[in-house]
């Protein structure tokens, strides 16, 4: 199945880990479709498989079985395993990632951190994107500051700008406010919502925070490796 309106489609996606003789089905036959421009939140208790699922959807890991189609392209299927290089190629074309820890490079300024992905891969006409995103995310006054000179909320905004600089199709956010207080959490939530609305960005977010999850148009609840629409 492919189509212009579909950003991501998973069929019977499964990820099994083996620990000695024990088999853990972290993701157990998940099928779901996420449309282009949708904002989907994944919730669930710790160990329910939500991060593992998002890692599979975001091509950070190979599934044990199942199929994945991204933007009309077949990525995983028929037992085909992608190499690290192939996974990187898919990731850099389609995804932007933000995590609970911001992983900014401490010796680079805000602007340099935002521009960092362009040192490795650059889509056409992304030159102006750095300053545009810095402006859009309210970081103009901080552009020449080092990460240690800005607040946690600002750091996550820098991480968001960095994730978006190569104009990804899908933004994957894994606990993006896990290290932030309530006020900063609200700020980041608003930023994500605004990006979804104004740029039509597909957002796939994992969170423990029910308030933040409600910003999504859809909420998918994970339990024992299975996905349920809430």
């Amino acid at each position: 199945m492919s189509g212009n309106g579909i950003s991501l489609e998973a069929r019977e996606l499964t990820r099994v880990y083996r620990m000695g003789s024990e088999e853990i089905r972290a993701v157990d036959g998940v099928s779901l479709t996420i449309g282009r421009g949708e904002f989907v939140s994944f919730v669930g208790p710790s160990g329910s498989g939500k991060t593992t699922l998002v890692n599979l959807l975001g091509c950070l890991d190979n599934p044990t079985s199942g199929e994945l189609h991204l933007a009309g392209r077949s990525i995983f299927g028929s037992g085909h395993i992608l190499s690290e290089k192939d996974l990187t190629r898919v990731r850099r074309e389609l995804f932007g990632y933000i995590f609970q820890n911001f992983y900014l490079i401490p010796t680079l300024t805000v602007r340099e951190n935002v521009a960092l992905p362009l040192a490795f891969y650059r889509k056409p006409e992304t030159e102006e994107e750095v300053d545009r995103l810095i402006g859009m995310l309210g970081l103009e006054q901080r552009r020449n500051h080092l990460p240690r000179q800005i607040s946690g909320g600002e750091m996550q905004r820098v991480a968001i700008a960095r994730a978006l600089v190569n104009r990804p199709e899908i933004l994957l956010a894994d606990e993006p406010t896990g290290n932030l207080d309530t006020k900063r959490t609200e700020e980041i939530g608003e930023v994500l919502q605004e990006l979804n609305r104004s740029r039509g960005l597909t957002i796939v977010m994992v969170t423990h925070n029910p308030g933040l999850a409600r910003l999504g148009e859809r909420i998918v609840e994970m339990r024992d490796g299975r996905a349920f629409e809430a």
Partner: protein
């Protein structure tokens, strides 16, 4: 826009002390290496210069220890043996001989020289033939002796400087209490001649109460067969022939042990520095696993990460190497003095000859060895998988 080079360079600034210590290690090994290579070249060049500036290619002297003969040839010696001066005329008839000069070396104990006295070396030379052997001699003051029996002396540059002599001064030959008038002071030659006092041969023979000589200096005709002449000279009774090549080989043998020792130190220094590089880069890679993982989520390929880490190694080795070479240039004089203390014999002139070519060679060696050391950490960094690195942050 930021480049990979900038990322690598800034990364080294994170742990400034660690970076500095690693750089110092590379700098020191680079210094040792370039100084050693410079010494290898400088020593041989100075030795060649010394021997060429002797003015003759062969010396004939009484039979004895070849090492003593070599020492005598370059800086005078003790326990001298004598040969008959009539030998000069018979050797001069050989077709290979261009010029020939008799020399008498004498050493007297001077109680006023240095702390506790020292040996003062005198060269008795023939005013008719010796200057022709040394056409490159230039006088700072005065000139050669007025006649072959004059009670006069020509002082080498350093000998005159040491005793603060001027033309017209009188010097006393120690032990003999004979007074000589200084008639000439030579310009610096960078050879052992700088420390020598030249006296007319007949005058020195009179002072030493002998009619013999210690050495005969022979300059060969152009394209003359040196080996053939040496064979002929060995037919003379109780003499040995020392050639330019022999002397050079003998001295190079004498210093070979010192060269091996210094070379070993350089190799060890480089190895230690490179272990430091591996340690620093590897630590840096391990500390930044999460960030490397994030770079991979941004689109960095394993090759990009490899090059990034390799660039860090390159910056380390490039900066450390250049600093070490700079240090070697600055400390060349000190290294020279140090080497002179260690070595059994050191020729005049600079012992450490460092030039741009040598500097570039050293830099190439340091960077090549450094890059080889960086392969493992860079390979390890390139293999970091984003998922595992993000998981490894303790969440």
């Amino acid at each position: 826009m930021i480049t990979k080079f900038q990322v690598a360079y800034r990364n080294l600034l994170r742990k400034k002390m660690r970076t500095l210590l690693t750089l110092v290690g590379i700098m020191l090994s680079s210094w040792v290496l370039v100084s050693l290579l410079g010494f290898n070249r400088g020593y041989e060049r100075s030795l060649n210069h010394d021997i060429e500036n002797m003015g003759y290619q062969l010396m004939v002297m009484a039979k004895g220890c070849p090492y003593e003969a070599a020492t005598m040839m370059l800086q005078g010696g003790t326990g001298l043996r004598y040969i008959d001066q009539t030998m000069v005329d018979s050797i001069a008839k050989e077709p290979e001989v261009d010029k020939i000069t008799p020399i008498l070396m004498q050493a007297f104990f001077d109680p006023n020289k240095g702390d506790g006295g020292g040996i003062a070396g005198y060269y008795g030379v023939d005013p008719a033939t010796f200057p022709g052997m040394k056409p490159f001699f230039r006088f700072r003051q005065g000139g050669w002796f007025r006649d072959e029996t004059a009670a006069e002396a020509v002082m080498g540059y350093e000998a005159a400087e040491l005793e603060q002599r001027e033309v017209g001064d009188m010097i006393i030959v120690p032990e003999k209490n004979v007074t000589l008038k200084v008639v000439g002071i030579l310009e610096r030659t960078g050879t052992q001649d700088d420390g020598t006092i030249f006296v007319p041969l007949k005058t020195l023979q009179k002072i030493a109460a002998t009619d013999k000589i210690t050495t005969i200096g022979i300059k060969l005709k152009k394209d003359a067969d040196s080996a053939k002449l040496e064979a002929e000279l060995y037919k003379l009774p109780d003499v040995q022939v020392v050639s330019f090549t022999q002397v050079k080989q003998t001295i190079m043998k004498l210093i070979s042990t010192a060269r091996v020792m210094v070379f070993s130190v350089a190799v060890i220094a480089i190895l230690i520095a490179m272990v430091g590089v591996v340690n620093t880069i590897l630590m840096s890679v391990l500390e930044q696993q999460q960030e490397i993982g994030i770079l991979k989520t941004m689109g960095a390929m394993p090759g990009d990460i490899f090059r990034l880490v390799w660039t860090e190694t390159l910056i380390f080795c490039g900066c450390g190497g250049v600093a070490g070479i700079g240090l070697a240039f600055v400390l060349a004089r000190m290294t020279d003095i140090l080497m002179r203390r260690i070595l059994p014999y050191a020729p005049g002139g600079g012992l450490v000859a460092i030039d741009l070519r040598l500097a570039l060679l050293t830099l190439t060696v340091i960077v090549t060895v450094g890059l080889a050391s960086g392969i493992y950490p860079a390979w390890k960094a390139g293999r970091v998988r984003p998922l595992e690195s993000i998981r490894s942050d303790g969440r």
